[in-house]
Amino acid sequence: MAEPILSVSGLCTEVVSDERVARIVRDVSFDLYPGEILGVVGESGCGKSMMGFALLNLLDPPARVASGSVSYAGQDITKLPHEDLRGIRGNRIAMIFQDPMVSLNPVLTIGEQMMEAVLAHQNVSREEAKARTVEVLEMVGIPKPAERLKAYPHEFSGGMRQRVVIATAFLNQPDIIIADEPTTALDVTIQAQILAEVQKMAAQNGTAVIWISHDMSLLSGLADRVMVMYAGQIVESGSTASIIEQPNHPYTRALMGAIPVPGRKKLEILRGFPPNLLGEFTGCAFAPRCPVARDHCEVERPELRGTELSHARCHYPLQEGARS
């Protein structure tokens, strides 16, 4: 396999308040390869969004990266000064946020703010920047993009706004796109359109994509590889096909069992809530909710076991072959 474009090692983030420390992302390591679509899945509050923010060093106090590194092109993003980060953010690594109303400036036209993103990073004329802007708006299915450049965000519907945000991420042909549930609020028809564009970018330009979602069925059609997060940790990771057909971690199986798929008569119900992240876990973080937990799980913390590309954090993995 080629060299990874992004290499994350031992990433931990924390939120400090009143002398209490919540450890939100706990020791996350993975490699991302060019042209790969990596899905990150988990329930609300499992730390997947914060991990996405940490990859671009976007955390603001009281949240911060506590330890670990994110290497991109030989540099550690978590230690880069702000001036150097500006050259990377929105240019080589683009982020798509969940809420389009927060990511767009309401007092600038769509054209102004999108062209600014091109002019800030590329040495091109305004005409060229405009042409590029029109081109990406067309890619995400905005009708008559040249005329819509003068529109303000409030003149667009929610779905159109989100498509503008996604188009902005495409502008500078980044090496990596980090997408944090960008299609959750969109209709399936528009979602399909955006997923089609993302797949095309990955296949044609070798853009690597990290797609954060709570919906395994969406990732199953999109991602090459999936990481499952629970309580800030990666509990399982592997190729999408192997995760769906042979999940190793009981949490992965429960997440998929909850999806209404054709022919399923009963949905699997995961009782209880994700654990409090203020403390340390004595055993497996999932043990209190796990349908197959044994006494041992409450006491000893499981380590990730398996190969670099396919592993699970479980004492009693569901597949025979993974047991040691």
Binding site: V188, A192, H214, M216, S217, G221, A258, P262
Partner: protein, 349 residues
């Protein structure tokens, strides 16, 4: 067949822009913009039988929520009538109409905004039942605990405020509130859309269980085909305010006729160990302020014929309770589906 529980006959609902005084004056002087009408629901008829769950599916802006609100009498239709147990609610005497309305309940999409933040859970749940005299004031607390128990909320939640509850728990409060008055029909408007998949599964299983134990009928409005397929007995697909296809859930998903139904199904995410090439419907959802002529789906339809631009297709019966509004003959245009299947490729692991 026995009398349907709830019958919507030729319902249309038109919204008109609320103009300011200057616009009104300008129009009087014949210099202003003409009034724009938005037809949210256009001549829709549907039936809900006792104990049945009907799913309503469509994209944003297709009128599904408006239809749901008309059904529970939160909105008056511009034309058409809503019949409850065979009687047109609009013509009933006030007292009877009130009783009918209160047999129709609604559960809203957003569990964060549909609960009063300053009211304790118990009061929210039981207020309507007390106000309508179903429960004596003295018994309200016990009745609230019982209603909460039915949806799996522990009695100690009774004095909490909504902010202390998780999203799934709030949605349970919304359901308990609707069920506390012993409704005949409940409209769920995107009731699980805002929830995580694991919480969504809990709520869906709760609804299945509640339906087995009590006999209320339900209308389940959702944009998620997988959810509707799981919960509904019969499905109505809307496009720009009109019914494009309706059938029993099994018939519709195994044998969809309308190209729009087929396109929606092709785009719904599925849990498959196969990577999928997403093939979006071409074009944009047209503005409901200026809908296309003829069949409203024709600008985006892969099988559009010249007559589709001019003739509006009427709902046509294709089988037992299977209706579709499309000029295509049965079996015509099926090639599209085979193409779609060929586009799926296996992931190289």
């Amino acid at each position: 067949m026995s009398m349907p529980l709830l019958e919507l006959c030729n319902i249309s609902r038109i919204f008109t822009r609320n103009d300011g005084v200057f616009d009104k004056l300008a129009r009087r002087l014949a210099i202003g913009r003409p009034l724009e009408n938005l037809v949210a629901v256009d001549n829709v008829s549907m039936v809900v039988n006792r104990g049945e769950t009907v799913g309503i599916v469509g994209e944003s802006g297709c009128g599904k929520s408006t239809l749901g609100r008309v059904a529970v009498q939160l909105l008056a239709p511009t034309s058409g009538k809503v019949c409850f147990e065979g009687k047109d609610i609009a013509t009933l005497p006030a007292e009877e109409a009130r009783r009918a309305r209160f047999k129709l309940q609604m559960v809203f999409q957003n569990p964060y905004t549909s609960l009063n933040p300053r009211r304790r859970v118990g009061e929210t749940v039981i207020e309507a039942a007390v106000a309508h005299g179903l429960v004596a004031k003295a018994d309200a607390r016990d009745a609230a605990i019982e209603a909460m128990g039915r949806v799996g909320l522990k009695p100690d939640f009774i004095d909490r405020f909504p902010h202390a509850l998780s999203g799934g728990q709030r949605q349970r409060v919304g359901i308990a509130r609707a069920l506390a008055v012993d409704p005949a029909c409940v409209v769920f408007d995107e009731a699980v859309a805002a929830l995580d998949v694991s919480i969504q599964a809990q709520i869906l299983e709760l609804l299945v269980e509640l339906r087995q134990n009590s006999s209320f009928a339900s209308v389940f409005i959702s944009h998620d085909l997988n959810v509707v397929r799981y919960i509904a007995d019969r499905v109505v697909i809307l496009y720009l305010g009109r019914v494009v296809e309706t059938a029993s859930t099994a018939t519709l998903f195994d044998n969809p006729h309308h190209p729009y139904s087929r396109a929606l199904m092709a785009e719904a995410p599925q849990l498959k160990a196969q990577k999928k090439t997403f093939t979006p419907i071409v074009g944009e959802l047209p503005s409901p302020l200026s809908p296309p002529s003829g069949c409203q789906f024709h600008p985006r339809c892969p099988h559009a014929m010249p007559r589709c631009k001019t003739d509006q297709p009427m709902l046509r019966q294709l089988g037992d309770r299977h209706f579709s509004a499309c000029h295509l003959e049965v079996g015509q245009g099926e090639e599209g589906r085979i193409e779609e299947a060929g586009k799926r490729k296996v992931v190289q692991a």
